[in-house]
């Protein structure tokens, strides 16, 4: 039992870091932010799934995928298709030529639901597909590439091209996918209105919980023997291969896990934000998510989450006040992180904070504060 908890949390240091993050996500932010800001935060948290997946894949596995956006998008589209079908029941779409199909299909003269939309009539099947579709695509790509020992730069360029293909495909096939507008006007999930305030709170907490879950899973993978192999593969692939391991299978596996996590993030994005569009699938979002992970620290699961939240809050703040400056700042940030802080925020933290035993001191305060916060929450919701 002790062993398992150590593996999940990553020792005392990891446990404290995770506890602080959980405290921020579950207590501090919901108390301090109004619902609008909390909604934004929830959106950023969904990006953090991708950042965490990139820590596994890129930081520890040395595989840079520039196509994580497409897995995020596929997860999101799966969820959006289910919600869209529910929103376009025959009663509320009776003004269309063909009632009962999504509005954009009607505008594009489709008279029948395409076959690949049919599974999304059922929620359990949709939830399975949210996990399976990104994983399956990752498996196909991974199998084709890693078995032929395509890696490094080539893998990055090819995944980027595939992300481009997928986004062109989604934009081009307007009748089947909603085109450039994406799938919008999502209202209910099994009759539960996802746009009300209480639903937004619930979805936020589910989202944060899933993120912590994914982080535990990632930590478990990294502290297991497989995690060691992953690191070894990153640093000396040939040596691992000559020791008798099948490197390509490990790579395929970690690529699939990363795709699945991104897919979960995408599905939660759709639920919280209420739409999904091809602008989350293509090249730009995919590469931005790599930057989130890089800013936070490509080796640190917790750092990647903070990196995602900080970069996105920075973007929101700057694009509200100085939209001109934002791209300069973002570009400068990329360059600075890559050149001067390759380990990101987590690297800076490790370098300076550990000296003063910040983790030890904060854990004391965290314990004190969480008692207080629990009391406050109790009062707020009574």
């Amino acid at each position: 039992m002790k062993e398992l908890s150590d593996k999940l949390l990553g020792g005392r240091q990891g446990a404290v870091g995770l506890a602080i993050l959980a405290l921020l996500l579950f207590v501090v932010f919901p108390l301090c932010l109004d619902l609008f800001r909390l909604g934004l935060l929830g959106k950023y948290v969904t990006y953090a799934f991708v950042a965490v997946s990139l820590v596994l894949l890129w930081g520890n596995g040395g595989i840079l995928s520039l196509g994580q956006g497409m897995f995020f998008g596929l997860g999101g589209y799966c969820m959006a298709m289910f919600l869209k079908l529910e929103a376009s029941d025959p009663v509320s779409t009776k003004i269309q030529t063909t009632p009962g199909i999504p509005d954009f299909m009607d505008w594009n003269q489709l008279t029948e639901l395409p076959w690949f939309w049919l599974p999304f009539k059922s929620l359990p099947l949709t939830l399975v597909l949210v996990l399976v579709v990104p994983t399956l695509l990752a498996f196909i790509i991974g199998y084709a590439m890693f078995k032929r020992r395509v890696g490094g730069v080539y893998f990055a360029i090819i995944t980027q091209a595939i992300a481009l293909i997928l986004s062109i495909l989604i934009i081009g096939q307007q009748g089947y996918t909603g085109g450039v507008n994406g799938i919008t006007d999502l209202k209910t999930m099994l009759g539960w209105d996802i746009r009300t305030d209480s639903a937004k709170y619930i979805l936020y907490f589910v989202n944060a919980g899933l993120l912590i879950g994914c982080m535990l899973l990632a930590r478990y993978i990294l502290t297991s023997k497989f995690g060691m192999l992953l690191l070894a593969m990153r640093d000396k692939e040939e040596r691992v291969r000559f020791s008798g391991y099948d490197v390509s299978n490990f790579k395929i596996f970690i690529f699939c896990v990363a795709a699945m996590m991104s897919g979960i993030g995408g599905a939660m994005f759709t639920l919280q934000v209420g739409f999904m569009s091809p602008s989350f699938v293509g090249i730009v979002p995919s590469i931005e998510m790599v930057i989130f992970a890089a800013v936070g620290g490509r080796m640190s699961l917790i750092g990647a989450v903070y990196g995602t939240l900080l970069v996105n809050f920075g973007r929101t703040m700057f694009s509200e006040t100085f939209p001109e400056l934002w791209l300069f700042l973002m570009g400068g940030l990329f360059i600075a992180v890559v050149m001067f802080f390759p380990d990101g925020l987590a690297g800076i933290y490790d370098k300076y904070a550990r000296k003063f035993n910040i983790a030890g001191v904060t854990s004391k305060y965290v314990a004190k504060f969480s008692k207080k916060a629990a009391k406050m929450i109790g009062e707020k919701y009574e």
């Binding site: 520039l66 730069v153 360059i335 890559v338």
Partner: protein
């Protein structure tokens, strides 16, 4: 055949073939610079599209000057030279400040140059505005040939093609027939030995990178003759040109030419028979699948690994 008569099919073939050829010229011009930077040095320059835009904006700026001083008919040659010089200088600076620190981390150059591309895009937007601008074209670039009544070949397309040919020949002579090219190839093949025989490899790296950027600038200037220029135009072509380079086999000049030709022809013919987006999807899919089966590209250089 698809409801056209044989005659019409023939004309369509000629015209689509020609539009394929002008796409080929643009892709080739873009990919040549990239083939030097990526193929020879292994640096992924995501800001390559933006270097192209440096050239394009230079040409637009020169054309504004030319209108003022009434030199519209002759300025274009100077514009191309200026575009090359400016992009070359910026490339030289970027290599010195940024790229040379990252040679051992190829994936990180990708991120850093992506950051650079964002900065450059915003610079274009702040200084030239977010709207697309276009150059005043000299009269001899406008209009079109009409060999028969149904065939219509625009002159600016021919011009870009000629320019692509000239630049390709220039790159060929530089890489394979000059001392400079010899030094570049020596450095790529064996850096330690090259530096042992007295080649200043750092300087070679810097000049190679700058040369690749300069060629991107020329392609940008050529680009203004067929399309207008916006801050993000360059980023639209970056994946295409990477595909050309990778598909052709990273270190091979012939491969780059062949793959630019193949991709451009496939794309323009498919785009006629399918929708434009599906044509592009089909082309890219084919390339990706071929690359999965043959990761080293069409014309791989024969090296032992």
């Amino acid at each position: 055949m698809f409801g056209y008569t044989m005659d019409e099919v023939g004309n369509i073939m000629v015209m689509q073939g020609f539009s394929g050829l002008s796409l080929f010229s643009v892709l080739l011009l873009m990919a040549l610079g990239l083939a030097i930077i990526f193929g020879q040095m292994g640096v992924i320059n995501m800001a390559h599209g933006e270097f192209m835009m440096v050239g394009a904006y230079t040409a637009v700026f020169m054309s504004k000057l030319a209108v003022k001083y009434e030199m519209v008919n002759s300025y274009f040659v100077f514009a191309i030279i200026a575009a090359f010089i400016l992009a070359f200088l910026i490339g030289y600076l970027v290599e010195y400040l940024l790229i040379r620190h990252l040679y051992k981390r190829p994936l990180d150059t990708l991120l850093a140059t992506w950051g650079l591309s964002l900065v450059m895009q915003q610079t274009f937007r702040s200084s030239f505005g977010a709207k697309e601008v276009s150059a005043e074209l000299p009269e001899w670039l406008l209009g079109s040939f009409k060999p028969t009544a149904d065939i219509d070949i625009p002159i600016n397309g021919v011009f870009v093609m000629v320019l692509a040919l000239v630049v390709t020949l220039g790159v060929y002579f530089f890489m394979f027939r000059s001392r400079g090219g010899l030094r570049v190839r020596a450095t790529v093949q064996n850096r330690v030995m090259a530096s042992a025989v007295g080649i200043n490899t750092q300087k070679v790296d810097r000049l190679t990178f700058a040369l690749g950027c300069g060629i991107a600038g020329v392609s940008g200037a050529a680009f203004t003759t067929i399309s207008s220029t916006g801050p993000t135009t360059g980023s639209l072509y970056i994946v295409d040109s990477f595909m050309v380079v990778v598909f052709g086999g990273a270190a091979s000049l012939m491969g780059t030419i062949a793959s630019a030709f193949g991709i451009a022809q496939a794309q323009s013919i498919l785009q006629f028979f399918m929708t434009s987006s599906m044509g592009k999807v089909a082309t890219l899919m084919t390339i990706v699948i071929i690359l999965m089966m043959r990761p080293e590209g069409l014309f791989a250089s024969k090296v032992r690994r």
